[in-house]
């Protein structure tokens, strides 16, 4: 498999959100003791109204000595999360959980935040809203101070509505629906937003191909989110294409869809890698040699196909498991060593989310392990939206604005060309 997973990492000269501030140094997340922040423009560093004027008196603006209702007994900073750990979508939740746990272990091995360690716990939510809020309650009452939210969009919206009541900051690794970060001022994300990816894909495909097809999963918010944006953009560009859909809960056989798209040059797949692997294999048996083009959910597809697949697969992703980047190489080695499987996009996003929290807490100057979640929430929001806050993670260099969206540069990975 490895032999044909060659990479062309195109730096696309557009960033997902306008206003990418390219200033500031970057830091190596594997060395957590160093400061995440460059000496930027101290005066106008922070955009948030609550925020302090500069880093030096950040401590003064937030009273970290305030103890929360449930956090008085904390001896470690408690990062909580919910995600599907059982059921149909459990592989995604487990990946995030493992990636995040790896990051926490690394930070703790390096001494934690000023000597205070971190604790990470993920509750199972089976991708349902009700279980996500139950999980949230359990975490909050166990002393959760900060969070990486939920893995899937539907449950993360539920999580966000609870977190908003309490002022708990969270940065979700993978819940990409727009409604998630709209639901709370304390909601941030590591992944790209769904609409951005759809628009980008529409532009890419319409510029390079004549006959375009698309297959989306009508039961999945991620897939429909990207697809709706794609559809709108294609209509705007006045490009026609063939539309096919499936329902991942009920149909795993893609022969009909591929039959309909047999003559296409390119097929857009705004879906996850499990189904994409099956689609690639169906393409082989149907004799369809179209290029398969996907979004970040396709990352991990290399593990789902074998040498019989001859189609070229391209996907927009901020993370590439075969990257030469030192950070990624180390992460992949550590992850494979610990869990026995190669990491996917979800694991990398989980890892980055933890480091985003860590670095933001470092920047905010948090110094009390029993700090109340709402105080920490305000401080971290101020820190993470600061103009000079740049995280160099596995998924690229990231900055955040007050909407909670993440700005990072996507690359296009190509398999088997």
């Amino acid at each position: 498999m490895k032999k044909f997973s060659k990479i062309i990492a195109l730096l696309l000269c557009l960033s997902m959100v306008a206003g990418f501030a390219a200033c500031g140094g970057t830091e190596d997340p594997t060395q957590p003791a160093t400061d995440a922040i460059s000496d930027g423009n101290a005066d106008d560093a922070l955009t948030d109204g609550n925020a302090a004027d500069d880093d030096d008196n950040a401590d003064a603006a937030f009273d970290f000595s305030e103890v929360g209702q449930y956090t008085a007994d904390n001896t470690e900073y408690f990062i909580g999360a919910t995600g599907p750990l059982t059921g149909d979508t459990s592989s995604y939740g487990i990946s995030v959980q493992q990636g995040a746990q790896l990051a926490v272990d690394e930070i703790n091995a390096a001494g934690g935040l000023n000597g205070v360690l971190f604790k990470f716990d993920m509750k199972d939510d089976k991708s349902t809203a009700a279980d996500a809020s139950t999980g949230y309650d359990a975490l909050y009452e166990a002393g959760m101070q900060i969070s990486i939210g939920s893995v899937t969009s539907g449950s993360c919206e539920s999580f966000a509505s609870r977190a908003d009541e309490d002022g708990v900051f969270f940065i979700t690794p993978s819940a990409s629906a727009a409604s998630v970060i709209e639901a709370s001022d304390y909601a941030f994300r590591v992944c790209f937003g769904d609409p951005d990816q759809g628009i980008l894909a529409a532009e890419e495909l319409s510029a390079n191909f004549e006959n375009i097809g698309a297959i989306y999963d009508n039961s999945d918010p991620y897939s429909t989110g990207i697809y709706d944006a794609f559809k709108a953009k294609m209509a705007e560009l006045n490009v026609s294409y063939i539309e096919q859909s499936f329902d991942a809960e009920n149909n795993r056989d893609f022969s009909t869809q591929i039959e309909a798209l047999k003559d296409c040059d390119a097929i857009f797949l705004p879906i996850y890698y499990t189904e994409a692997g099956l689609i690639a294999k169906t393409c082989v048996s149907k004799g369809c040699d179209a290029l398969l083009f996907g979004c970040d959910g396709l990352d991990g597809v290399a593990g789902q196909i074998d040498e019989t697949v001859t189609n070229t697969i391209k996907y927009i992703t901020p993370f590439d498991v075969n990257s030469e980047d030192e950070l990624v190489v180390d992460f992949v080695a550590a992850y494979t060593d610990k869990y026995g499987v190669a990491p996917d996009q979800f694991a990398a996003d989980g890892y980055d989310a933890i480091y985003a929290i860590y670095n933001a807490m470092l920047k905010a100057g948090v110094d009390n392990v029993t700090v109340a979640p709402e105080v920490l929430g305000d401080a971290v929001v101020a820190a993470i939206t600061a103009e000079d806050f740049v995280l160099k993670g596995l998924t690229g260099e990231m900055t955040w604005d007050t909407t909670g969206a993440c700005t990072k540069v996507p690359v296009i990975v190509t398999l088997g060309e």
Partner: protein, 382 residues
């Protein structure tokens, strides 16, 4: 049977139980010591009880297997919450909005209950079960594809959701709903209509011959059960956001069925206890088994389920259980009770004697003061 109307505590046990839980939690909440997770757990327990009791009407009392109860809840949750959000813009009072939407959501679910009841007139047993399952899946698929209800993203009910930090009253409303449902169901079952329903279960043809309107009662039970399930759905919509189609899969219908079967068919008290217990066990398992251990959750749940069901139902265990049941022990302590003694619960609505038991009762009456051994049915010899 000294008095014509004898008040028995066991008949009112369910009210007492539910009211006590409500009162205790209300007092604790007033002192500010009720953790939010518990007030939310109470809401979950409340809608589970409504679902279990209403499904028991269909499965336990009417005797038809239904695997689509979550479908009715789905209708209530989606439509009821949607209507509540529209109403919330006009009416300022949250409680009135909730009650109104509960009635409207319930009525719509009841309409679907009527639709599902129609095939129930023609189909029996497992064929009906698959039709109800099919209905649940159809409803889910349709809601999933309607853009009014947010498609795959689900219907965001943020606008009407109870902010559980500031306002914990949702569990109170839910428990009062439970009491109302219980009041209705208990009185229905004890009325002549209730006896007609159980008669249909025991022998449809005989019931027909007695002049019972089977068509009416079958539809009636389905409509009522769907109405309550729809109300539970509206509570669910106010409790969490978003209302997402994936929750209402046949797996959830089966979970409600598990509550009914574990609690005992045609036992309202049993349904209440089982619904509360299963919700609580799930809550505890979810809270305690996180991260790497989450996969154990279903393992433990499955084992509990298998062991409990086998313990409750295995015919071979019945004599052992009988020997150590509190009733037998009580009788032992009091001394031997004569089998011919007329007990106060004979002919009670809850004790529906099977054919064999009827034989026993009759033969005992005929030959008093003699050693009596009823004919044991041969294994599988029914």
């Amino acid at each position: 049977m000294a008095k014509l109307k004898k008040i028995k505590i066991s008949d009112y046990f369910c009210y007492i139980m539910v009211a006590a839980v409500m009162l205790v939690s209300f007092v604790v909440a007033q002192t500010g010591n009720l953790p939010r997770s518990y007030s939310n757990l109470l809401v979950q327990i409340a809608y589970s009880i409504i679902l279990a009791v209403s499904l028991n009407l269909v499965v336990g009392f009417l005797g038809e297997l239904s695997l689509g109860h979550a479908g009715f809840m789905c209708v209530g949750a989606y439509v009821g919450s949607y209507i509540a959000m529209q109403l919330a813009e006009v009416i300022d009072n949250k409680l009135i909005v909730l009650l109104l939407s509960m009635i409207i959501g319930g009525l719509l679910a009841a309409f679907f209950g009527f639709l599902v009841g129609l095939p129930a007139l023609r189909l029996k047993g497992d064929y009906l079960a698959i039709v109800t399952l099919a209905f649940g899946e159809i409803v889910r698929t349709i809601f999933k594809n309607m853009s009014v209800f947010g498609k795959a993203m689900g219907l965001s009910t943020q606008a009407i959701k109870y902010d559980t930090r500031k306002d914990t009253s949702l569990y109170l409303v839910s428990f009062i709903t439970v009491l109302v449902v219980l009041f209705f169901v208990q009185n229905l079952i004890r009325s002549k209509h209730g006896r007609a329903i159980t008669a249909i279960r025991d022998n449809e043809i005989a019931a027909k011959a007695m002049g019972i309107n089977v068509t009416f009662y079958k539809l009636f039970v389905f409509v009522i059960a769907a109405f309550f399930a729809g109300m539970a759905g509206v509570i669910y919509g106010h409790y969490t956001t978003p209302v997402l189609y994936s929750f209402f899969s046949y797996n959830y219908s089966i979970e409600i069925l598990v509550m009914v079967v574990l609690g005992g068919m045609a036992s309202i008290n049993g349904s209440i206890i089982a619904a509360a217990l299963i919700t609580f066990v799930n809550f505890q398992l979810q809270s305690h088994l996180s991260g790497d251990q989450a996969a154990l959750k279903y393992l433990i749940y499955a084992l509990i389920l298998i062991v409990l069901v086998i313990f409750n139902n295995a015919p071979k265990l019945a004599p052992i259980k009988d020997k150590f049941s509190p009733k037998t022990l009580l009788v032992k302590a009091k001394g031997h009770r004569h089998p011919g003694e007329i007990r106060s619960d004979t002919g009670d609505w809850r004790v529906i004697p099977s054919k064999i038991k009827m034989d026993e009762v009759l033969s005992v009456d005929l030959q008093q003061n003699t050693e009596f051994t009823p004919d044991k049915p041969q294994k599988g010899g029914k």
